[in-house]
Protein backbone atom coordinates (compact mmCIF):
# COMPACT_ATOMS: atom_id res chain seq x y z
CA UNK A 1 0.00 0.00 0.00
CA UNK A 2 1.24 3.45 -0.83
CA UNK A 3 -0.77 5.12 1.90
CA UNK A 4 0.58 3.33 4.98
CA UNK A 5 1.76 6.58 6.46
CA UNK A 6 -1.81 7.80 6.68
CA UNK A 7 -2.92 5.00 9.05
CA UNK A 8 -2.82 5.03 12.83
CA UNK A 9 -2.81 1.87 14.96
CA UNK A 10 -6.54 2.17 15.57
CA UNK A 11 -7.15 2.20 11.80
CA UNK A 12 -5.49 -1.19 11.50
CA UNK A 13 -7.38 -2.91 14.32
CA UNK A 14 -10.67 -3.43 12.51
CA UNK A 15 -12.44 -5.70 14.98
CA UNK A 16 -14.16 -5.14 18.29
CA UNK A 17 -12.88 -6.35 21.68
CA UNK A 18 -15.84 -8.73 21.83
CA UNK A 19 -14.91 -10.33 18.51
CA UNK A 20 -11.22 -10.56 19.44
CA UNK A 21 -11.73 -12.27 22.78
CA UNK A 22 -14.49 -14.50 21.45
CA UNK A 23 -11.91 -15.67 18.92
CA UNK A 24 -9.97 -17.25 21.79
CA UNK A 25 -13.10 -18.92 23.11
CA UNK A 26 -13.98 -20.48 19.75
CA UNK A 27 -10.37 -21.49 19.19
CA UNK A 28 -10.13 -23.25 22.54
CA UNK A 29 -13.44 -25.05 22.01
CA UNK A 30 -12.30 -26.11 18.55
CA UNK A 31 -8.96 -27.60 19.59
CA UNK A 32 -9.75 -29.16 22.95
CA UNK A 33 -8.08 -31.48 24.17
CA UNK A 34 -4.98 -30.20 22.37
CA UNK A 35 -4.47 -28.12 25.51
CA UNK A 36 -3.39 -31.21 27.43
CA UNK A 37 -0.54 -31.74 24.99
CA UNK A 38 0.50 -28.11 25.43
CA UNK A 39 0.39 -28.50 29.18
CA UNK A 40 2.58 -31.58 28.86
CA UNK A 41 5.03 -29.60 26.74
CA UNK A 42 5.27 -26.91 29.43
CA UNK A 43 5.92 -29.57 32.08
CA UNK A 44 8.63 -31.19 29.95
CA UNK A 45 10.32 -27.80 29.47
CA UNK A 46 10.33 -27.16 33.22
CA UNK A 47 11.66 -30.67 33.91
CA UNK A 48 14.43 -30.20 31.35
CA UNK A 49 15.46 -26.97 33.09
CA UNK A 50 15.30 -28.48 36.55
CA UNK A 51 16.78 -31.96 35.96
CA UNK A 52 19.25 -30.89 33.23
CA UNK A 53 19.12 -34.15 31.25
CA UNK A 54 21.46 -34.74 28.34
CA UNK A 55 20.12 -32.95 25.24
CA UNK A 56 17.65 -31.06 27.45
CA UNK A 57 18.31 -27.78 25.61
CA UNK A 58 17.65 -29.49 22.31
CA UNK A 59 14.32 -30.81 23.61
CA UNK A 60 13.35 -27.34 24.82
CA UNK A 61 14.24 -25.82 21.44
CA UNK A 62 12.19 -28.46 19.62
CA UNK A 63 9.17 -27.89 21.86
CA UNK A 64 9.45 -24.13 21.51
CA UNK A 65 9.73 -24.42 17.73
CA UNK A 66 6.67 -26.68 17.68
CA UNK A 67 4.76 -24.15 19.79
CA UNK A 68 5.57 -21.24 17.47
CA UNK A 69 4.71 -23.24 14.37
CA UNK A 70 1.44 -24.48 15.88
CA UNK A 71 0.33 -21.03 17.07
CA UNK A 72 1.29 -19.55 13.70
CA UNK A 73 -0.82 -22.06 11.83
CA UNK A 74 -3.75 -22.89 14.14
CA UNK A 75 -4.31 -19.51 15.78
CA UNK A 76 -2.88 -16.82 13.52
CA UNK A 77 -3.53 -18.32 10.10
CA UNK A 78 -6.71 -20.30 10.63
CA UNK A 79 -8.44 -18.21 13.30
CA UNK A 80 -7.03 -14.66 13.33
CA UNK A 81 -6.45 -14.08 9.59
CA UNK A 82 -10.17 -14.05 8.70
CA UNK A 83 -10.67 -10.93 10.82
CA UNK A 84 -7.24 -9.30 10.47
CA UNK A 85 -5.62 -8.97 7.08
CA UNK A 86 -2.12 -8.66 8.60
CA UNK A 87 -2.43 -11.91 10.54
CA UNK A 88 -0.96 -14.08 7.80
CA UNK A 89 2.18 -11.94 7.96
CA UNK A 90 2.26 -12.52 11.69
CA UNK A 91 1.88 -16.26 11.02
CA UNK A 92 4.86 -16.12 8.63
CA UNK A 93 6.93 -14.48 11.38
CA UNK A 94 5.92 -17.24 13.79
CA UNK A 95 7.00 -19.90 11.27
CA UNK A 96 10.31 -18.06 10.85
CA UNK A 97 10.78 -18.08 14.62
CA UNK A 98 10.11 -21.83 14.67
CA UNK A 99 12.72 -22.28 11.95
CA UNK A 100 15.29 -20.15 13.80
CA UNK A 101 14.73 -22.14 16.98
CA UNK A 102 15.34 -25.37 15.08
CA UNK A 103 18.42 -24.02 13.33
CA UNK A 104 20.06 -22.41 16.37
CA UNK A 105 18.77 -24.73 19.08
CA UNK A 106 18.75 -28.12 17.38
CA UNK A 107 20.94 -28.18 14.28
CA UNK A 108 23.74 -25.80 15.28
CA UNK A 109 23.42 -26.19 19.08
CA UNK A 110 24.13 -22.48 19.51
CA UNK A 111 21.67 -22.06 22.40
CA UNK A 112 21.82 -23.73 25.78
CA UNK A 113 18.98 -23.31 28.27
CA UNK A 114 20.18 -23.44 31.86
CA UNK A 115 19.07 -22.01 35.20
CA UNK A 116 22.06 -19.96 36.30
CA UNK A 117 22.42 -17.88 39.46
CA UNK A 118 22.44 -14.47 37.80
CA UNK A 119 19.76 -11.80 38.15
CA UNK A 120 18.99 -12.33 34.46
CA UNK A 121 18.33 -16.03 35.06
CA UNK A 122 16.16 -15.27 38.09
CA UNK A 123 14.02 -12.84 36.16
CA UNK A 124 13.95 -15.28 33.25
CA UNK A 125 12.42 -17.93 35.52
CA UNK A 126 9.87 -15.43 36.81
CA UNK A 127 8.91 -14.40 33.27
CA UNK A 128 8.63 -18.05 32.24
CA UNK A 129 6.47 -18.97 35.23
CA UNK A 130 4.41 -15.83 34.68
CA UNK A 131 3.73 -16.90 31.09
CA UNK A 132 2.88 -20.46 32.06
CA UNK A 133 0.89 -19.85 35.22
CA UNK A 134 -0.25 -16.22 35.48
CA UNK A 135 -1.12 -15.39 31.88
CA UNK A 136 -3.84 -18.07 31.68
CA UNK A 137 -5.54 -16.30 34.58
CA UNK A 138 -5.41 -12.77 33.14
CA UNK A 139 -8.61 -13.21 31.13
CA UNK A 140 -10.49 -14.25 34.26
CA UNK A 141 -8.83 -11.59 36.41
CA UNK A 142 -9.85 -8.89 33.94
CA UNK A 143 -13.48 -9.99 33.90
CA UNK A 144 -13.54 -12.27 30.88
CA UNK A 145 -14.38 -15.95 30.54
CA UNK A 146 -11.85 -18.67 31.40
CA UNK A 147 -12.38 -19.96 27.87
CA UNK A 148 -10.77 -16.77 26.56
CA UNK A 149 -7.47 -17.53 28.32
CA UNK A 150 -3.97 -17.13 26.94
CA UNK A 151 -2.11 -20.47 27.09
CA UNK A 152 1.47 -21.38 26.30
CA UNK A 153 1.81 -23.22 22.97
CA UNK A 154 -1.84 -22.50 22.18
CA UNK A 155 -1.99 -18.70 21.85
CA UNK A 156 0.61 -16.16 20.78
CA UNK A 157 1.07 -13.91 23.83
CA UNK A 158 1.79 -16.63 26.38
CA UNK A 159 4.04 -18.40 23.86
CA UNK A 160 6.04 -15.23 23.14
CA UNK A 161 6.42 -14.36 26.82
CA UNK A 162 7.47 -17.90 27.78
CA UNK A 163 10.02 -17.83 24.97
CA UNK A 164 11.46 -14.55 26.25
CA UNK A 165 11.72 -16.05 29.73
CA UNK A 166 13.58 -19.07 28.37
CA UNK A 167 15.87 -16.92 26.22
CA UNK A 168 16.83 -14.96 29.33
CA UNK A 169 18.10 -18.27 30.69
CA UNK A 170 19.94 -19.13 27.51
CA UNK A 171 23.65 -19.11 26.95
CA UNK A 172 24.96 -18.17 23.52
CA UNK A 173 24.76 -15.10 21.33
CA UNK A 174 22.09 -16.72 19.19
CA UNK A 175 19.64 -15.95 21.99
CA UNK A 176 19.82 -12.29 20.91
CA UNK A 177 18.58 -13.11 17.40
CA UNK A 178 15.95 -15.45 18.77
CA UNK A 179 14.53 -12.60 20.82
CA UNK A 180 13.78 -10.32 17.86
CA UNK A 181 10.45 -11.84 16.80
CA UNK A 182 9.10 -12.46 20.35
CA UNK A 183 9.96 -8.87 21.31
CA UNK A 184 8.33 -7.53 18.14
CA UNK A 185 5.23 -9.60 18.87
CA UNK A 186 5.06 -8.23 22.42
CA UNK A 187 4.83 -4.68 21.08
CA UNK A 188 2.35 -5.63 18.34
CA UNK A 189 0.01 -7.39 20.73
CA UNK A 190 0.45 -4.59 23.28
CA UNK A 191 -0.64 -2.04 20.68
CA UNK A 192 -3.61 -4.20 19.66
CA UNK A 193 -4.78 -4.67 23.25
CA UNK A 194 -4.26 -0.97 23.89
CA UNK A 195 -6.60 -0.08 21.01
CA UNK A 196 -9.07 -2.64 22.34
CA UNK A 197 -8.77 -0.99 25.77
CA UNK A 198 -7.84 -4.30 27.42
CA UNK A 199 -6.45 -3.87 30.95
CA UNK A 200 -3.54 -6.25 30.28
CA UNK A 201 -2.26 -4.23 27.31
CA UNK A 202 1.03 -3.30 28.97
CA UNK A 203 2.05 -6.74 30.25
CA UNK A 204 3.83 -7.99 27.15
CA UNK A 205 5.50 -4.69 26.17
CA UNK A 206 6.79 -4.49 29.77
CA UNK A 207 8.12 -8.05 29.49
CA UNK A 208 9.82 -7.19 26.21
CA UNK A 209 11.44 -4.04 27.60
CA UNK A 210 12.65 -5.95 30.65
CA UNK A 211 14.14 -8.66 28.44
CA UNK A 212 15.90 -6.11 26.23
CA UNK A 213 17.30 -4.28 29.26
CA UNK A 214 18.60 -7.49 30.84
CA UNK A 215 20.12 -8.59 27.57
CA UNK A 216 21.98 -5.29 27.12
CA UNK A 217 23.22 -5.45 30.72
CA UNK A 218 24.48 -8.96 30.07
CA UNK A 219 26.23 -7.94 26.85
CA UNK A 220 27.90 -4.96 28.58
CA UNK A 221 29.08 -7.12 31.48
CA UNK A 222 30.66 -9.57 29.04
CA UNK A 223 32.31 -6.64 27.24
Amino acid sequence: MDEWWTYGIADLVLFTPKTYFRLFELYHRNWWPMHLACLAMAVVILLCLWLKPARGSRVIAILLAASWAWVGWAFLHLRFAPIHWVADWFAAAFFLQALLLLVYGVLCLRVEFEIGNSMRAGIGILVLLGALLVMPATAHLTGREWMQAELFAMTPDATALATLGLLLLAKGRAAVWLMVIPVAWCFITGATLWVLEAPEALILPAGALLSIALLFMHIRQRG
Partner: protein, 295 residues
Protein backbone atom coordinates in the same frame (compact mmCIF):
# COMPACT_ATOMS: atom_id res chain seq x y z
CA UNK B 1 -31.49 -3.54 -6.89
CA UNK B 2 -32.58 -0.73 -9.16
CA UNK B 3 -36.17 -1.87 -9.14
CA UNK B 4 -36.24 -1.98 -5.36
CA UNK B 5 -34.84 1.52 -5.10
CA UNK B 6 -37.18 2.97 -7.70
CA UNK B 7 -40.07 1.39 -5.86
CA UNK B 8 -38.91 2.96 -2.64
CA UNK B 9 -38.73 6.36 -4.32
CA UNK B 10 -42.26 6.06 -5.64
CA UNK B 11 -43.75 4.56 -2.53
CA UNK B 12 -42.08 6.09 0.50
CA UNK B 13 -41.17 3.61 3.21
CA UNK B 14 -43.06 4.11 6.40
CA UNK B 15 -42.71 3.25 10.04
CA UNK B 16 -45.41 0.76 10.76
CA UNK B 17 -46.34 2.49 14.00
CA UNK B 18 -46.35 6.13 12.94
CA UNK B 19 -46.68 5.97 9.14
CA UNK B 20 -44.11 8.76 8.93
CA UNK B 21 -42.39 9.32 5.64
CA UNK B 22 -38.81 8.09 5.37
CA UNK B 23 -36.38 10.86 4.49
CA UNK B 24 -34.41 10.25 1.33
CA UNK B 25 -32.26 12.44 -0.88
CA UNK B 26 -31.55 12.18 -4.60
CA UNK B 27 -28.22 10.95 -5.94
CA UNK B 28 -27.26 14.00 -8.04
CA UNK B 29 -25.96 12.06 -11.07
CA UNK B 30 -29.13 10.00 -11.49
CA UNK B 31 -31.90 11.47 -9.36
CA UNK B 32 -32.36 8.07 -7.68
CA UNK B 33 -33.68 8.43 -4.14
CA UNK B 34 -31.43 7.24 -1.34
CA UNK B 35 -32.54 6.88 2.31
CA UNK B 36 -30.42 9.22 4.40
CA UNK B 37 -29.16 6.50 6.74
CA UNK B 38 -27.12 3.58 5.44
CA UNK B 39 -25.18 0.88 7.24
CA UNK B 40 -21.41 0.75 7.63
CA UNK B 41 -19.60 -2.51 8.31
CA UNK B 42 -16.12 -1.55 9.48
CA UNK B 43 -15.26 -3.47 12.69
CA UNK B 44 -18.87 -4.31 13.58
CA UNK B 45 -19.45 -7.00 10.94
CA UNK B 46 -15.91 -8.37 11.08
CA UNK B 47 -16.82 -11.36 13.23
CA UNK B 48 -15.07 -14.16 11.33
CA UNK B 49 -16.83 -17.51 11.23
CA UNK B 50 -18.56 -17.06 14.58
CA UNK B 51 -22.05 -18.29 13.66
CA UNK B 52 -23.70 -16.70 16.69
CA UNK B 53 -22.20 -13.30 15.87
CA UNK B 54 -23.05 -13.71 12.18
CA UNK B 55 -26.66 -14.34 13.07
CA UNK B 56 -26.67 -11.17 15.18
CA UNK B 57 -25.31 -9.22 12.20
CA UNK B 58 -28.07 -10.73 10.04
CA UNK B 59 -30.64 -9.47 12.56
CA UNK B 60 -29.09 -6.00 12.37
CA UNK B 61 -29.45 -6.06 8.59
CA UNK B 62 -33.03 -7.36 8.86
CA UNK B 63 -34.02 -4.46 11.11
CA UNK B 64 -32.15 -2.06 8.85
CA UNK B 65 -34.18 -3.19 5.83
CA UNK B 66 -37.41 -3.27 7.83
CA UNK B 67 -36.88 0.37 8.78
CA UNK B 68 -36.46 1.34 5.13
CA UNK B 69 -32.65 1.20 4.81
CA UNK B 70 -30.93 0.32 1.53
CA UNK B 71 -27.23 1.18 1.42
CA UNK B 72 -24.73 -1.18 3.04
CA UNK B 73 -21.07 -0.23 2.69
CA UNK B 74 -18.03 -2.45 3.05
CA UNK B 75 -14.44 -2.93 1.94
CA UNK B 76 -11.89 -5.72 1.46
CA UNK B 77 -10.00 -4.01 4.27
CA UNK B 78 -12.70 -4.91 6.80
CA UNK B 79 -11.68 -8.54 7.31
CA UNK B 80 -14.65 -10.87 7.21
CA UNK B 81 -17.28 -8.11 6.87
CA UNK B 82 -18.00 -8.88 3.22
CA UNK B 83 -18.62 -12.62 3.78
CA UNK B 84 -20.74 -11.76 6.82
CA UNK B 85 -22.89 -9.39 4.75
CA UNK B 86 -23.23 -12.12 2.12
CA UNK B 87 -24.21 -14.61 4.81
CA UNK B 88 -26.87 -12.23 6.13
CA UNK B 89 -28.31 -11.35 2.70
CA UNK B 90 -28.52 -15.03 1.83
CA UNK B 91 -30.05 -15.98 5.16
CA UNK B 92 -32.62 -13.19 4.96
CA UNK B 93 -33.16 -13.74 1.22
CA UNK B 94 -33.16 -9.96 0.75
CA UNK B 95 -30.28 -9.41 -1.68
CA UNK B 96 -32.66 -7.59 -4.00
CA UNK B 97 -33.24 -4.85 -1.41
CA UNK B 98 -29.65 -3.82 -0.89
CA UNK B 99 -27.87 -0.88 -2.44
CA UNK B 100 -24.44 -2.51 -2.41
CA UNK B 101 -21.51 -0.16 -1.87
CA UNK B 102 -18.04 -1.63 -1.74
CA UNK B 103 -14.47 -0.57 -2.39
CA UNK B 104 -11.37 -1.55 -4.26
CA UNK B 105 -8.34 -1.49 -1.98
CA UNK B 106 -5.21 -2.87 -3.53
CA UNK B 107 -1.96 -1.23 -4.64
CA UNK B 108 -1.52 -3.32 -7.77
CA UNK B 109 -3.96 -1.82 -10.31
CA UNK B 110 -4.02 -4.99 -12.43
CA UNK B 111 -5.41 -6.93 -9.47
CA UNK B 112 -8.30 -4.55 -8.88
CA UNK B 113 -10.83 -6.45 -11.01
CA UNK B 114 -9.88 -9.71 -9.32
CA UNK B 115 -10.41 -8.17 -5.88
CA UNK B 116 -13.77 -6.68 -6.86
CA UNK B 117 -14.92 -10.03 -8.25
CA UNK B 118 -13.91 -11.72 -4.98
CA UNK B 119 -15.90 -9.06 -3.10
CA UNK B 120 -18.94 -9.61 -5.31
CA UNK B 121 -18.84 -13.34 -4.60
CA UNK B 122 -18.61 -12.68 -0.88
CA UNK B 123 -21.69 -10.48 -1.05
CA UNK B 124 -23.53 -12.90 -3.32
CA UNK B 125 -24.89 -10.11 -5.52
CA UNK B 126 -24.99 -9.96 -9.31
CA UNK B 127 -23.07 -6.67 -9.34
CA UNK B 128 -22.31 -3.72 -7.12
CA UNK B 129 -24.39 -0.58 -7.20
CA UNK B 130 -21.48 1.57 -6.11
CA UNK B 131 -17.77 0.82 -6.28
CA UNK B 132 -15.35 3.23 -4.62
CA UNK B 133 -11.58 3.58 -4.55
CA UNK B 134 -10.72 3.06 -0.88
CA UNK B 135 -8.51 5.74 0.68
CA UNK B 136 -7.29 6.84 -2.76
CA UNK B 137 -5.12 3.73 -3.15
CA UNK B 138 -3.85 3.71 -6.77
CA UNK B 139 -6.83 5.90 -7.58
CA UNK B 140 -5.90 6.91 -11.13
CA UNK B 141 -5.65 3.34 -12.37
CA UNK B 142 -8.60 2.06 -10.36
CA UNK B 143 -10.85 4.90 -11.54
CA UNK B 144 -10.07 3.99 -15.16
CA UNK B 145 -11.12 0.42 -14.40
CA UNK B 146 -14.30 1.60 -12.65
CA UNK B 147 -15.27 3.81 -15.60
CA UNK B 148 -14.91 0.78 -17.89
CA UNK B 149 -17.00 -1.34 -15.52
CA UNK B 150 -19.67 1.35 -15.35
CA UNK B 151 -19.78 1.63 -19.14
CA UNK B 152 -20.13 -2.14 -19.36
CA UNK B 153 -22.99 -2.11 -16.85
CA UNK B 154 -21.11 -4.04 -14.16
CA UNK B 155 -21.50 -1.23 -11.62
CA UNK B 156 -23.88 1.72 -11.52
CA UNK B 157 -21.91 4.38 -9.70
CA UNK B 158 -18.25 5.31 -9.19
CA UNK B 159 -16.77 6.90 -6.09
CA UNK B 160 -13.73 7.56 -3.95
CA UNK B 161 -13.34 7.43 -0.18
CA UNK B 162 -11.23 8.67 2.66
CA UNK B 163 -11.77 8.83 6.40
CA UNK B 164 -10.65 10.68 9.48
CA UNK B 165 -9.45 13.73 7.54
CA UNK B 166 -6.89 11.68 5.63
CA UNK B 167 -5.42 13.16 2.40
CA UNK B 168 -8.09 15.84 2.00
CA UNK B 169 -5.98 17.99 -0.33
CA UNK B 170 -5.44 15.17 -2.79
CA UNK B 171 -9.06 14.08 -2.32
CA UNK B 172 -10.21 17.54 -3.33
CA UNK B 173 -8.05 17.41 -6.44
CA UNK B 174 -9.61 14.10 -7.49
CA UNK B 175 -13.07 15.56 -6.93
CA UNK B 176 -12.21 18.50 -9.19
CA UNK B 177 -10.67 16.48 -11.99
CA UNK B 178 -12.60 13.20 -12.13
CA UNK B 179 -16.14 12.20 -13.01
CA UNK B 180 -17.49 10.91 -9.72
CA UNK B 181 -20.99 9.88 -8.67
CA UNK B 182 -20.11 9.53 -4.98
CA UNK B 183 -17.51 10.62 -2.48
CA UNK B 184 -17.18 9.31 1.07
CA UNK B 185 -15.42 10.97 3.98
CA UNK B 186 -15.75 11.66 7.71
CA UNK B 187 -17.88 14.48 9.09
CA UNK B 188 -19.68 14.92 12.37
CA UNK B 189 -20.83 17.49 14.85
CA UNK B 190 -17.40 17.96 16.44
CA UNK B 191 -15.28 17.42 13.31
CA UNK B 192 -16.65 19.84 10.73
CA UNK B 193 -13.53 20.36 8.65
CA UNK B 194 -15.34 18.95 5.59
CA UNK B 195 -17.70 21.96 5.65
CA UNK B 196 -14.89 24.23 4.47
CA UNK B 197 -13.97 22.57 1.16
CA UNK B 198 -15.23 19.05 0.50
CA UNK B 199 -18.95 19.50 1.09
CA UNK B 200 -19.26 22.73 -0.93
CA UNK B 201 -17.20 21.18 -3.71
CA UNK B 202 -19.42 18.09 -3.78
CA UNK B 203 -22.50 20.30 -4.06
CA UNK B 204 -20.89 22.35 -6.82
CA UNK B 205 -19.82 19.27 -8.79
CA UNK B 206 -23.09 17.37 -8.27
CA UNK B 207 -21.51 14.49 -6.36
CA UNK B 208 -23.41 12.43 -3.79
CA UNK B 209 -21.80 12.41 -0.34
CA UNK B 210 -21.63 9.44 2.04
CA UNK B 211 -20.49 10.28 5.57
CA UNK B 212 -18.52 7.64 7.46
CA UNK B 213 -17.61 7.52 11.17
CA UNK B 214 -20.52 9.73 12.21
CA UNK B 215 -19.96 8.79 15.86
CA UNK B 216 -16.15 8.73 15.74
CA UNK B 217 -16.30 4.96 16.24
CA UNK B 218 -18.66 5.38 19.17
CA UNK B 219 -16.35 7.66 21.16
CA UNK B 220 -18.57 10.67 20.49
CA UNK B 221 -21.65 8.92 21.84
CA UNK B 222 -19.81 7.79 24.98
CA UNK B 223 -18.71 11.39 25.59
CA UNK B 224 -22.14 12.89 25.00
CA UNK B 225 -24.13 10.31 26.90
CA UNK B 226 -22.71 11.76 30.10
CA UNK B 227 -24.84 14.82 29.38
CA UNK B 228 -28.59 15.28 28.99
CA UNK B 229 -30.09 15.57 25.54
CA UNK B 230 -31.42 19.12 25.15
CA UNK B 231 -35.17 19.44 25.68
CA UNK B 232 -35.61 20.94 22.22
CA UNK B 233 -34.16 17.80 20.54
CA UNK B 234 -37.74 16.56 20.28
CA UNK B 235 -38.49 19.41 17.87
CA UNK B 236 -36.36 17.63 15.26
CA UNK B 237 -37.54 14.16 16.21
CA UNK B 238 -34.46 13.14 18.20
CA UNK B 239 -35.04 10.81 21.14
CA UNK B 240 -31.36 10.06 21.82
CA UNK B 241 -27.81 11.22 21.12
CA UNK B 242 -27.19 8.98 18.07
CA UNK B 243 -30.23 10.48 16.35
CA UNK B 244 -29.11 13.96 17.36
CA UNK B 245 -25.68 13.38 15.82
CA UNK B 246 -27.06 11.76 12.68
CA UNK B 247 -29.67 14.44 12.07
CA UNK B 248 -26.98 17.07 12.24
CA UNK B 249 -25.00 15.26 9.53
CA UNK B 250 -27.82 14.43 7.15
CA UNK B 251 -29.30 17.91 7.42
CA UNK B 252 -26.28 19.37 5.63
CA UNK B 253 -27.58 20.12 2.13
CA UNK B 254 -24.60 18.47 0.42
CA UNK B 255 -24.82 15.21 2.40
CA UNK B 256 -26.69 12.34 0.77
CA UNK B 257 -26.46 9.79 3.57
CA UNK B 258 -24.53 8.73 6.67
CA UNK B 259 -23.42 5.15 7.29
CA UNK B 260 -23.16 4.42 11.03
CA UNK B 261 -21.89 0.92 11.78
CA UNK B 262 -23.29 -1.25 14.54
CA UNK B 263 -23.56 -4.89 15.54
CA UNK B 264 -26.53 -4.31 17.83
CA UNK B 265 -30.18 -4.43 16.83
CA UNK B 266 -31.15 -1.74 19.33
CA UNK B 267 -28.56 0.61 17.88
CA UNK B 268 -29.63 0.10 14.28
CA UNK B 269 -33.21 0.86 15.35
CA UNK B 270 -32.01 4.07 17.01
CA UNK B 271 -29.96 5.03 13.97
CA UNK B 272 -32.79 4.40 11.54
CA UNK B 273 -34.97 6.63 13.67
CA UNK B 274 -32.98 9.53 12.23
CA UNK B 275 -34.56 8.73 8.85
CA UNK B 276 -37.87 10.04 10.12
CA UNK B 277 -39.31 13.30 11.38
CA UNK B 278 -38.11 16.83 10.78
CA UNK B 279 -34.59 17.74 9.73
CA UNK B 280 -32.87 20.66 11.47
CA UNK B 281 -32.71 23.91 9.51
CA UNK B 282 -29.68 26.19 9.48
CA UNK B 283 -30.62 27.91 12.75
CA UNK B 284 -31.23 24.61 14.49
CA UNK B 285 -27.88 23.29 13.21
CA UNK B 286 -26.14 26.29 14.77
CA UNK B 287 -28.02 25.63 18.00
CA UNK B 288 -26.92 21.99 17.98
CA UNK B 289 -23.28 22.99 17.52
CA UNK B 290 -23.47 25.56 20.30
CA UNK B 291 -25.08 23.12 22.69
CA UNK B 292 -22.47 20.41 22.18
CA UNK B 293 -19.57 22.86 22.25
CA UNK B 294 -20.75 24.18 25.60
CA UNK B 295 -21.00 20.77 27.26
Amino acid sequence: MLAALCASALVPATRASSREKLISKPIPSSGEAMPVIGLGSSRTFNVGDDTEARDTCAEVIRHFFDAGGHMIDSSPMYGSSQPVIGYALDKLDRSSEVFSADKVWISAPDKGRQQMEASRRYWGVSGFDLMQVHNLVSWREHLDTLYEMKAAGNIRYVGITTSHGRRHVEFEEVMKTSELDFVQFSYNLVDREAERRLLPLAAERGIAVIINRPFQRGDLIYRLEEHPLPGWAGEIGCANWPQFLLKFIISHPAVTCAIPATSQVEHVKENMGACYGALPDIDMRARMIAYVENL
